[in-house]
């Protein structure tokens, strides 16, 4: 049980640690900038008000003058929703396709493990960097916030990270399906990035364009709203369930595709 999961996790330990460290340093740096922005005395909210609705929607901006509003925009909407979404889609798009492309898959499948189980365990191994990222970077952000004299609500912080996990898993799920369907890892990865980015744009544009509102529901970004969590303390558990269901569906689809193909 879980041999492949352990193996994948084990061999990625160093990579995961470096990744979490890099994102931590970057986010710590951004959070540390907050006092100087605040001190500059510019009424940033007024500037933000002047942005078109679509831009505000894309950036997740509601208020930049509080630490929560600042984090929601600068860290969670940009880094978590967009960059990390892209990253995990990219990463899991390599999970299967890379092994197929580099002739590792036939050796793996000579082992007594079913194809669907192999896909599931490889996918599960992505959960480790996702959780590590949320725990590690979450703690760093909280600590830096504390250090600059801003108190961030611990529950909100916890929720913004916790609820991002299903979102990132859904993005990874998109990558996984491509990984099983496409032979070349780089193609799978580029397409995965393209799809996640396109969905992000679709949601952004559809949400603020008359007549296109229903389109926003196709994007996973619609179901994770860090701004609402941090500023309004609204935790949309229903949306989280949608993301988990979509993830499960994507994994099943990937297993289905992978079971029926020639290696």
């Amino acid at each position: 049980m879980l041999e492949t999961f352990y193996y994948e996790t084990d061999r990625n330990v160093r990579g995961t640690l470096v990744f979490v460290a890099l994102v931590s340093v970057y986010t710590a740096f951004i959070v540390a900038l907050f006092p100087s922005i605040e001190a500059a005395g510019v009424d940033i909210d007024q500037v933000v008000e002047a942005y078109p609705e679509a831009v505000r929607q894309a950036m997740g901006v509601q208020s930049m003058s509080t630490i929560e509003g600042f984090l929601a925009t600068q860290i969670y909407t940009f880094i978590w929703v967009l960059l990390m979404g892209l990253y995990f889609a990219y990463r899991s798009a390599g999970l299967v396709a890379d092994d197929v492309e580099r002739d590792r898959m036939d050796l793996l499948l000579s082992l007594p493990i079913s194809r669907s189980r192999l896909v599931l365990e490889k996918f599960a191994s992505v959960l480790v960097p996702i959780v590590a990222l949320n725990v590690g970077v979450g703690a760093v952000i909280y600590a830096v916030g504390f250090a600059i004299g801003e108190s961030i609500d611990l529950l909100d912080m916890t929720m913004v990270h916790l609820l991002s996990i299903p979102y990132l898993l859904a993005c990874a799920g998109i990558g996984l399906v491509l990984s099983t369907a496409v032979d070349r890892a780089d193609v799978a990865q580029r397409v995965a990035i393209g799809i996640v980015f396109a969905l992000y744009l679709v949601e952004t544009i559809a949400a603020s364009t008359d007549g296109f509102e229903p389109l926003q529901y196709v994007s996973p970004t619609h179901y994770y709203d860090p701004t609402a969590i941090l500023l309004e303390e609204s935790y949309a558990y229903g949306d989280t369930l949608v993301l988990l269901a979509v993830t499960a569906l994507l994994v099943v689809a990937a297993q289905f595709v992978f079971q029926r193909r020639d290696i």
């Binding site: 041999e3 590792r104 898959m105 050796l107 493990i113 290696i263």
Partner: protein, 305 residues
């Protein structure tokens, strides 16, 4: 019960027929050579046996399991070892880590014994391995769970002659243990050295399936006669002499007839020296490939040369 049973197997990729209504079986405990030039369909057959490819038509069963029944095949794979033609290991991990992973899925009762035999640098990351060392690691993982059947795709490519001899001895010892071994090759001499039976594949079709001895028997004997006389033309009148080559000091030919007739015939000449030996398997191979022999042999020897 046969270890591998292939019946009317056809595998098509679109218009390309990789394997064409192939039938053969590998008996328990034998070393079975699967011979043919590159592109003949050897790897396609092996991948079908392992359930990696779905047959277009026909059936394949391995250790009694239909390869299309995935659940059953997963269980059966505990008793199968596999050495692919192109070894894919994760480059960033050590040999030991790979073996640990494989062991966690299929067990490793023979691991330490095999590690002593093949000695790859198990503590080093695989990216530092030479081709030979990767192959050694591949052999260890293929045999470490003490499988009943081991399938090897071109196992000796990338091995130096010393390692190759070690491999041959290893296969002999495995045969003694009762392990069934199926291996593909385009190196004829190695098949001859270690196999009990040989199947020869050409363009996806089986052209011969025989034990090595009768394969050689059909190939006749190579006769080399040293003589001052001009025998080349005379030999052509001898029944059963083919492929006559005139040498500087005599003649060489392949002889498939009676020895008495040959000796009688030779008494007409002044013979300095005579050498009767088994023909190289390459010649036998040519016999099966007929008109396209030259191409086939060039293909067979070309890629890994």
């Amino acid at each position: 019960m046969a270890s591998i049973e292939v019946t009317d197997l056809t595998k098509e990729y679109g218009d390309l027929v990789a394997v064409d209504s192939l039938s053969f079986s590998v008996e328990e405990g034998e070393v079975f050579g699967y011979l043919g030039p590159n592109g003949a369909g050897k790897t396609t057959t092996i991948r079908t046996i392992l359930g990696l490819l779905a047959p277009t038509s026909g059936t394949v069963s391995v250790l009694g399991t239909d390869v299309r029944d995935e659940d059953a095949l997963v269980e059966t794979k505990r008793r199968i070892g596999y050495l692919p033609a192109t070894l894919g290991f994760d480059e960033d991990v050590t040999g030991n880590r790979v073996l640990d992973y494989h062991a966690s899925l299929k067990g490793d009762p023979r691991r330490s014994e095999l590690v002593d035999t093949f000695t790859p640098p198990l503590d080093r990351p695989i990216r530092e391995y030479s081709t030979g060392n990767e192959q050694m690691l591949g052999l260890i993982q293929a045999f470490m769970h003490d499988p009943d059947l081991v399938i090897m795709d071109e196992p000796t490519s990338g091995l130096d002659p010393l390692k190759q001899e070690q491999f041959n001895e290893f296969v002999d010892a495995e045969r003694e243990r009762g392990t069934t071994i199926f291996f593909s090759s385009h190196v004829l001499s190695e098949v001859r050295r270690v196999c009990d039976r040989v199947a020869i594949l050409r363009d996806g079709q089986l052209v011969a399936l025989e034990d090595v001895e009768s394969l050689l028997e059909k190939g006749g004997k190579r006769v080399r006669v040293r003589t001052p006389d001009d025998v080349a033309t005379a030999v052509e009148g001898l029944d059963g002499a083919v492929d006559v080559v005139e040498l500087e000091d005599g003649v060489q030919f392949t002889y498939v007839g009676e020895y008495n007739a040959l000796l009688e015939h030779l008494t007409n000449y002044d013979v300095f020296d005579i050498d009767i030996s088994e023909p190289p398997l390459e010649d036998v191979f040519m016999h099966y490939y007929g008109a396209d022999a030259t191409t086939a042999v060039r293909d067979a020897e070309g890629i890994d040369a």
